[in-house]
Symmetry: C2
Subunit: 323 residues, 2 copies
């Protein structure tokens, strides 16, 4: 029985690997850019990147990569059997057996695959901001929006394991095109990718001129650039963060109507900038939630582990299922 | 222990009362228009209407109205303690103690209150189209859209009992105003009220001229008028039914993303016309559900009891909780 495991969160932009002890302590950390998959060998580039991360964590400590439980959190629809069925934010990896490929590469049978936001929910529930909370929704704001719904203390999984794909709840029918093939998905408005899209839209309308100038080619604009300018006090950037906060509330209000859940944790990369948008989210909720004043309080708060929840939770899932 | 109960479904337009045996057989039926509540005595008019229905069912059979379990299904947010917290489609009844008022009027302590769509879900689960189905969503298409989510064989209730308020999931941010105070709620596009609104919109754009002429004052237009003309083969009315079917799919796709639920039952008054819109719903789902082809089949089928599910289920809830 291993007392440590590796958790890897493969997001749309970055892949983060953590070496984690059974009590949640982080013993090591590595990060790589998530690779683009060539069309002819789906999953191989991702598996190779994860293999590299795992070996890099093991080597300095003399750990054997084939003897350590590894949990993979993938940004997409992960079947109960671990297969990545569909992943709009990991282009080319849809349908890939990333877990199997990694197991072969490491010579290990100790690999488990789960949805990245489900992992984040597990970590926050076990060790983080949702300790002792039986009902909450984990909302990860990264390239897209991931979701993990905890109901009566357990992760809601659905018939195939795909429950919690909240980023592809459409909030604006006929709205902005989404990599999933749909239009108007929540994540086109309230994730890192959504913030970038809102910024490009604003720039095309002549707003955010200072930001546009600072990045040069707007194609290179990242969500982080908006956050940086907002933190520096740029009024237009602050206003855009508030706009994104409104859209976050729009989806939270929908989930409140459907699930009657009172607690929402916000994590992911953009979650680290929550002070710039959560005040706007909370103000908007009062107007956007059906029967707001007839309900119990609805809290929307930052997760404890932020962008690390996914990798922490992937390690936790590995420890739970493989040891 | 009573072997019969009365179930009353108080909808936005009509109130239906059924005398129901423990095995689901219907022994009597009465219907009244749902009254408008005066602002100074919320719930009293509704309670009086229900009292009249209950007495009318009891009298011919010599049953004592104070000795019979009565279940009330209300179109709105019903607390676990039976209080109607918020009800956009029962104007004036929000916050009313309808169950208590009815109990006083009947001299009975055998009154229980539940959300109408939750009742419908229970009836279809026990006796109808969802027998043996552990995971499904009941979608009632009436004045608004009601919802009952059954997960692992049990009704999802949420922290206050409000879960399943799917009609107020917003699918078109900044869209059509809703009686709930919001904009772009699903029920503004895919219920009886939504169909009426779509028809009025079409008429204002010069479409549906024959329908407009047939009703005279368009303010009197009802969803049923559109259904009648569609059944008669009116191409524009048929096209509007298909448009409503698309909007139904829009919300079903959202619920699939969030819950990963594979079965949807369509009931309520408009559910009786499902042959006019479900084909369009099913076609649209293929394009609207994230990762449709990577998922298990999603079925959207008519409920067995149609507009009677709510009252049947209210009787069932009364039998379960009061006997």
């Amino acid at each position: 029985m291993s007392d440590v495991a590796i958790g890897v969160d493969v997001g749309g932009t970055k892949s983060l690997a953590l070496l984690v002890a059974r009590d949640g302590r982080v013993l090591g950390e590595r990060v790589e850019a998530t690779p683009h998959e060539p069309a002819n060998a789906p999953g191989h580039a991702t598996a190779a990147t994860v293999e590299k991360l795992v070996r890099a964590l093991c080597e300095p400590l003399g750990l054997r990569p084939d003897a350590l439980p590894v949990g993979l959190g993938l940004a997409g629809m992960v079947r109960r059997d671990g297969r990545l069925a569909f992943a709009p934010n990991l282009p080319g990896a849809s349908g890939a057996e990333v877990g199997t490929l990694l197991g072969v590469a490491l010579g290990s049978s100790l690999v488990v695959v789960e949805n990245d936001a489900n992992c984040a929910a597990r970590a926050e529930h076990a060790w983080g901001a949702a300790r002792g909370v039986a009902n909450f929704v984990m909302v990860t704001l990264g390239t897209g929006i991931g979701g993990g719904v905890v109901s009566n203390g357990s992760l809601m999984r659905g018939q195939s394991g795909f429950a919690g794909e909240i980023g592809h709840m459409v909030v604006a029918a006929h709205g902005a095109p989404c990599p999933c093939g749909g239009r108007g998905c929540w994540e086109r408005y309230a994730s890192g990718g959504g913030l970038r899209r809102l910024a490009l839209e604003a720039i095309s309308e002549g707003r955010l001129a200072d930001l546009a100038e600072s990045v040069g080619d707007v194609a290179d604009l990242r969500a982080e650039d908006v956050v940086t300018r907002a933190r520096a006090g740029d009024a237009e950037a602050l206003s855009l963060m508030a706009e994104m906060g409104w859209w976050l509330a729009r989806g939270v209000a929908n989930l409140s109507a459907i699930l009657d859940c009172g607690h929402f944790l916000v994590g992911g990369g953009l979650g680290a900038a929550s002070e710039l948008f959560l005040p706007s989210t909370r103000t908007a909720l009062v107007h956007l939630v059906e029967g707001y004043h007839a309900r119990a309080e609805i809290t929307v708060t930052p997760s404890l582990f932020g962008p690390r929840s996914g990798a922490l939770g992937a390690a936790l899932v590995a420890l739970e299922r493989l040891t």
